[in-house]
Amino acid sequence: MTVQSSTRGVFATLFPYIKSHRTKFVLVFGLVVTVVVIDLLQPLLVKEAIDSYVTVSKPDSGAIVRMAALYLGLVLMAFGLTYYQDIVLQRLGLSIVRSIRIDLFKHIQRLALRYFDQNSAGRIMTNVVSDTEALNNFFTQFLANTLRGGFTLVLIMFFMLRLNVTIALNCFLLLPLVIVLAVFFQRKIRAINTQVRHRLGVLIGFLAENLSGMPIVQIFHQEAKQQKRLDLRNKELLQSTILENQFFLLFFNLTELFGDLAIAALVWYGGRGALGGSISFGVLYAFVGYIRRFFQPINTISQQMNTLQSSIVASDRIARTLQEVPDIQELVEAKAPVISGHIKLDGASLAYRPGHPVLQNIHLTIHPGERVGFVGATGAGKTSIMNLVTRFYDVTEGSVVIDGKDVREWPLDVLRQTVGIVQQDVTLFSGTIIDNIRFFRSEIPAEKVREACRLVGAEPFIFRQDRGYETILSERGSTLSAGERQLLSFARVLIFDPRILILDEATACLDSRTEEVLQRAIHRVSAGRTLLVIAHRLSTVQQMDTICVLEQGRIVESGNHSDLLRRQGYYWQLHRAGLLQEEFA
């Protein structure tokens, strides 16, 4: 994508948000101009004092004091205005970014599972967190600084021209030089800074890895080798930080030197003018004052180019996400049928990538209340069948019909209420146990949650936690064991009460007591529901009314446990090899 079109993308994304805050922006502009003018009056005031009250035949100290008093008023006003302007602008930026963040997040929530499977969590995170933060910097840094810097520059030029056109134009000759210098060095410093950050990243990565793998380093007795490697990276970092610093100092000192030379030039040129009487000394003084302030805004603005660039890239990415169309959409006149829990897959096929089908022509009928187990190696298509029943994905061919109605014609929310899942890796959020069970729906009464927990046998371990149901789970419930997490998710199922339950059985090694509790809970939870189990344990599979054996996207065998064993087919082989336990590897 070209820079131009992406620049347009930024404005297309941001414009609607900015438009709704027009008046605030105008206010900020006005405030910035006022503040800058007050600041820039200083050299003019001294000039006025020198030319009108000191170097005249009758010096007037009273007038000077009056002038100072007047300026004091202005300065106090500027103090208030600066403060106010800063807050208005920052609040503006923050509220715009707030709306963008929320809109972005809402949009992402609407996207189908395909989006989440195709984009890594890290990428989405970057989008929601860092990209929006880069936009925030656009307002709080880029806009704030360029506005101020730009107005300062323009107003200095204006004042200079008012004072003396010839000297002003001569001073402007400096501008291109300073700009070139600033742009050159900023670019150079940015490049080196990128290198520094890269090398720092490499060093930190190396450190992080070696610290977490320290036992390996020590056991293989490779401390010296790793020390040498760290040294290599550490030295590289040292070199580039020194280089960065040298460029920075070069730039800083050259600017300073330029300032001194410009003053020397002013003294030379203006001094002769003053000597000849063509310009007053006050004017010369004002120029000295202004030329010193000439460099700062240019530097500030060129520094902000970095921020501008990254916010362009960021908003481009945000715009693309916002343009993403959800590929699972609710039919406009979708209506739910009478729900009983009957499932029919009619020649259903699914391909995540075109030409690579993961399910081929699946025919399967499951009656209400039936319990069906799915077995097969990793990649055989067990999870994909579940993805179709929940309508996380749409079939590429055939259809999935629940209670006589194609799932594509169901209202999504009713479908999701009807089909519940218990995942192997139970999703827990930071929050209390009770909120995690009712999924933060505070309208669900606590008593109902407790009852569900009692039924699945989760209450004993919940009461063992510090604050019972109110215990806050840290780091996604890492303090709970796999079995305990499963129990929580079973309680969740009882509360949400789906007609059809999909259960992805946990493969984790559990001690026999937990195993027993879990098995009992599964019984409790599955009673009265149509049950689809991705099974990993013989004990579970055996209890199923029907077992479907999947191989490479097809159902190769089905029947109950003893039927299948008698047939001595694929199931029997799996069984023999002990793969039913271990296939998750």
């Binding site: 707030r98 609407r110 929601v128 002769r272 999924f439």
Partner: protein
């Protein structure tokens, strides 16, 4: 301990933190004194420019200025400009370079220390914290010794220069009026700086909370969608975003206050100079030139004053960082070479564990209780147990990641505490549970024990662990990077490469800690067969000699062919024997075996020879095993 003596020890601690920097500066005192003097001289000289402009003004006003004088002034300004810039420049380069070298040194010293520390240290301290020492704490120290020194020197010199020039030569009252408000700037920085820093930290945390919520939602998107809770999640996210806005607005209030107060101080100074100085000029107390110089000084002093405030903050902040670094550099590794005469033969022979009980320091609970076993070269010991049964602790003790009690673990009849760590660890190869690999090439990972990787040897090892074919499928084969920048490996591939790394090391002792858990059963069998052959064969390839092998596992199939198997439960050996005898015992092992291999269903189906009696089940089992082996052979042929 009384409170006063405690505060004294804290004092001493703080002092010792500063010693790190102090001794560094002392060692480089020449560079520092030259650098600091140059910076100071540069600032003193720059204070001359406004004064020069003042003199120029006066002579212009008095009419004593000739055209030749003008060029004299011009050259003087140019000379002073060049002189002050070059002096400051050189001084800053020196000081900054030294500061960056200090960060390099500190990071190096930290890592040098970290490689000596034992796992217990890593248990107590998170990697994240340690990284932040290497990153932020070291960075703060650099700020102190480079920026801090530079800005302190230049600001102080300039302030002194200006005061001396103006108060002594011109008028002290005007100096006080003009500089007075400016002197508040460092105080302002000192007052608001830490608050701003704290608040900015808070808004970072708010941002982090939003990131965490996002991460949770993205990670659990299936559950979110399945339970139809998008709205709930969105409102959670909204509250996080609102928290960010709130924290940031607090921050904005502080920065806006700072950003408007500092110019106010400068402007007040200017106004005092304008009013009082203007009055003094008209009264002819001071010359117009002095007045001009004064106004220029005010503008000139703003930056140094802000920097002086910064210096105060850096000094304050660096105290804590210095202490943390110092504390780290003085951490004492728990596992050390004994001081007494040490064994200097390399390991070769048998491993013997006698009555080993162990509990971690600070805990009363015995993780291991009265463990005894011995393994001879060429033999394999299997250790079985569920999570938390103590089997990994056992491995840690053999490796001396923690020191076992004296007189419990022997190699070649010598207590392992008598071996230097280097020799001990050279003699043991190990595969960790998670198959930890480094983000470097496959080759370097397998040949981790070698300075210069031997490609052929690495390939042989990879073949033994059945990962060679996978590796040949990677884009750069053995030179493929592992990790974020290269290929992502499956758990099984990781483990197999980690085992190849163990084989490559070719050590007389091999420990595998649950290192086949992510490998499917038939590959597991293949790898174990290969390993068995390798550790029992006397001749042939280089990687072979009689080895002691320990296989720790929760999966019975991994240990089934071991010469002896011990079953650990809650730190105790509850069963021991070989596979067949354990099956015959009919205890935990047998129960697990039938569950894991899926035998109990067969028993049901075939009307249970098992029920009839345990002894009679044994021949059946052998037949089963034979059938299985035969099946495998058929598949292979």
């Amino acid at each position: 301990m009384s409170s006063s003596s405690r505060s004294k020890t804290i004092k001493i601690k703080e002092m010792s933190g500063l010693l790190v920097v102090g001794s560094y500066i002392r060692r480089n005192w020449v560079v520092y004194s030259v650098g600091i003097s140059l910076v100071a001289v540069g600032s003193l000289v720059s204070a001359q420019i406004p004064r020069l402009l003042g003199r120029f003004t006066d002579s212009l006003r008095n009419g004593t200025l000739g055209a030749s004088d003008i060029s004299g002034y011009v050259w003087l300004i140019v000379t002073i400009g060049v002189a002050r810039v070059s002096a400051g420049w050189c001084g800053r380069i020196l000081v900054h370079r030294k500061g960056r070298q200090l960060t390099y040194r500190l990071r190096k010293e930290l890592f040098d220390k970290w490689v000596t520390l034992s796992p217990s240290y890593y248990h107590r301290n998170s990697v994240g914290d340690m990284i932040s020492h290497a990153l932020s704490d070291v960075e703060v120290v650099r700020e102190l010794v480079s920026q801090g020194i530079n800005q302190g020197a230049s600001g102080f010199a300039m302030l002194l220069g200006v005061i001396w020039l103006m108060a002594v030569h011109v008028d002290w009252r005007l100096t006080l009026a003009g500089l007075g408000p400016l002197l508040f700037i460092p105080l302002l920085v000192k007052w608001l700086g830490p608050r701003i820093r704290l608040q900015s930290q808070r808004s970072q945390e708010a941002l982090g909370a939003m990131a965490q919520t996002t991460e949770e939602v993205i990670g659990g998107i299936r559950a979110v969608k399945a339970f139809g809770t998008e709205q709930v999640v969105i409102s959670r996210f909204e509250s996080r975003v609102d928290a960010i806005v709130e924290e940031k607005m607090h921050l904005v209030h502080l920065t806006a206050l700072f950003g408007s107060l500092v110019p106010l101080m400068v402007n007040l100074g200017f106004i005092f100079v304008l009013a009082y100085g203007g009055y003094l000029v008209t009264m002819k107390v001071i010359s117009l030139g002095d007045f001009v110089a004064f106004t220029l000084y005010i503008a000139m002093l703003r930056q140094p004053m802000e920097q002086m405030g910064n210096v105060l903050n850096v000094v304050q902040r660096s105290g804590a960082s210095l202490n943390r670094i110092d504390h780290l550099l003085h951490a004492v590794p728990e596992v050390l070479d004994r001081k007494a005469l040490l064994q200097d033969n390399s390991l070769k022979g048998a491993l013997q564990v006698k009555g080993l009980s162990f509990s971690y320091s600070g805990s009363k609970r015995e993780v291991l209780h009265d463990i005894s076993f011995s393994v001879k070269p060429g033999q394999t010991l299997g250790i079985i147990g569920v999570m938390g049964s103590g089997k990994s602790t056992l491995a840690d003790l053999l490796l001396r990641m923690y020191d076992p009690p004296e007189g419990t673990v022997f190699i070649d009849g010598v207590d392992i505490l008598q071996y230097p760590l280097a020799i001990l660890r050279n003699g043991i190869a190990y595969v960790p549970q998670d198959g930890f690999l480094f983000s470097t090439t496959v080759l370097e990972n397998i040949a981790f024990s070698d300075e210069y990787p031997d490609r052929q040897k690495a390939e042989r090892c990879a073949k033994i662990t059945a990962v060679h074919k996978n590796i040949m499928g990677f884009p750069d084969q053995y030179d493929t990077e592992i990790g974020e920048r290269g290929v992502r490996l499956s758990g099984g591939q990781k483990q197999r490469i980690a085992i190849a790394r163990m084989i490559y090391k070719d050590a007389p002792f091999q420990i595998m800690d649950d290192s086949l858990s992510a490998v499917d059963t038939s590959t597991e069998r293949l790898i174990l067969n290969n390993l068995r052959e390798l550790s029992k064969s006397h001749s042939g390839s280089q990687e072979s000699s009689l080895k002691v092998t320990l296989i720790i596992s929760h999966r019975l199939s991994a240990v089934q062919h071991a010469d002896e198997i011990v079953v650990l439960d809650d730190g105790k050996i509850v069963e021991r024997g070989n596979h067949l005898s354990l099956i015959a015992q009919g205890g935990i092992y047998a129960e697990q075996w039938f569950m894991q291999a899926g035998k109990n269903e067969d028993v049901d189906l075939e009307a249970s020879t098992f029920e009839a009696g345990r002894d009679s089940s044994q021949p059946d089992l052998d037949i089963e095993m034979e059938a299985l082996e035969a099946g495998r052979l058929e598949e292979a042929s």
